[in-house]
């Protein structure tokens, strides 16, 4: 089950981290 968790997490990390980067960039620009 741990490896299933890692697989799903990896797929989400690959897809979402660049998006998170631009969100954080915008958020920091407001601060």
């Amino acid at each position: 089950m741990e490896s299933v968790k890692s697989t799903i997490t990896s797929l989400f990390v690959i897809a979402l981290v660049p998006v998170a980067g631009s969100w954080i960039d915008e958020m920091l620009a407001y601060l």
Partner: protein
């Protein structure tokens, strides 16, 4: 089986490898930003790294099992040295991408070989204590090196740290020929199991998402959040907390982050009876600092530490999850890749 002195040597070899990588950890994101890399590009670098590891993890573990784990470990150290050097000399995104490729390959090579190699050099009854000893030594050295690295430079934009971390890693690569001996006997090959596990995991991953198992969704969301946090805590703390570019400050903060994580992970796994009181004590202490902090810097540092503290306790939730799965008999299968 090798003698305990050989095993100790192996443990320190692996722990120092992880620790040398941590020399740059406290300032890595800020260094890239100082070279003109945007936060979105940092995200792309992380995504690229995760993608490379995802693709190459199982094949590299297979090659290590089939041919030579010692070669994989030596290559992992060499690739880490190259990653640090390429980062030191680069000033554009494409070169940083190349550096990240080397970093990801290094991690995949090391993960696919080191623990299997260490365990194949220990007796059956010694495996658990050896792993726990390795983790403990590794965490202590990582925190120390995370503190020491930034102490040697003035500002976060200095490439000097990356150069000497690279030189140290090249030295460690040469030391690997002295410290890592050719494997005398190999345990049964687990490479095919790893390959099958990856396929099965993908199937299970899809069905887990489709079935929306609540805890699974929580655990995965936390995993993704944690990876985002690892990647962006430095720019967030710098911009929102207003912490200066003095490198030593970042070394101290990263030392605290790693210490809090190790401590909370340790308490979660080893001292389940102490976990609730520990959560209260740590949380109250940090919230007190957070509430009464007179400076913005301290306020945001405490906030980041609280978040990292809970990332350690999330391991505890995972253990509970596995136990509940085992009790309901839904067939938890411990594969080698999950142990790495």
């Amino acid at each position: 089986m090798q003698s305990s002195a050989d095993v100790t040597r192996l443990i320190y070899f692996g722990a120092f490898f992880s620790a040398l990588r941590m020399l740059v950890g406290g300032v890595s994101a800020l260094y890239l930003i100082s070279k003109g890399v945007s936060l979105q590009e940092i995200g792309i670098l992380k995504s690229f790294q995760a993608g490379v590891i995802f693709v190459f993890d199982a094949p590299l573990a297979y090659i290590a099992d089939r041919y030579s784990r010692t070669m994989s470990i030596k290559l992992a150290v060499l690739f880490s040295a190259a990653w640090l050097l390429v980062t030191a000399v680069s000033s554009d995104f494409e070169h940083f991408l190349l550096a990240e490729l080397l970093n990801a390959l290094s991690l995949a090579l090391f993960n696919g070989a080191f623990l299997s190699y260490l365990l194949s050099n220990t007796g059956k009854e010694e495996k658990k204590p050896i792993l726990s000893r390795y983790t403990k030594i590794q965490h202590v050295l990582m925190a120390l090196f995370a503190l020491l690295g930034p102490m040697t430079i003035e500002t976060v934009s200095s490439s000097f740290l990356w150069y000497y971390a690279s030189v140290a890693m090249f030295f460690w690569f040469f030391m690997s020929f002295v410290l890592i001996e050719k494997e005398k006997s190999k345990e049964r090959s687990v490479a095919e199991e790893v390959a099958i596990t990856v396929r099965e995991d993908l199937k299970k991953a899809v069905s887990a998402v489709v079935n929306m198992k609540v805890l699974m969704v929580f655990v995965v969301s936390f995993g993704v959040f944690y990876q985002v946090l690892i990647q962006f805590w430095q720019p967030v703390l710098k911009n929102a907390g207003g912490i200066s570019d003095h490198a030593y400050l970042w070394g101290v903060i990263f030392f605290l982050v790693l210490s809090v994580q190790s401590l909370s992970g340790y308490l979660s796994e080893k001292r389940t009876r102490m976990i609730l009181p520990s959560i209260w004590v740590f949380t109250f202490a940090l919230i007190a600092i957070w509430l009464f902090a007179e400076s913005k810097e301290l306020f945001f540092t405490a906030l980041i530490l609280i978040i990292f503290l809970f990332s350690g306790f999330s391991q505890f939730i995972l253990i509970l999850f596995f136990m509940s799965q085992l009790m309901t008999g839904s067939g938890v299968r411990w594969s080698l890749s999950s142990q790495r």
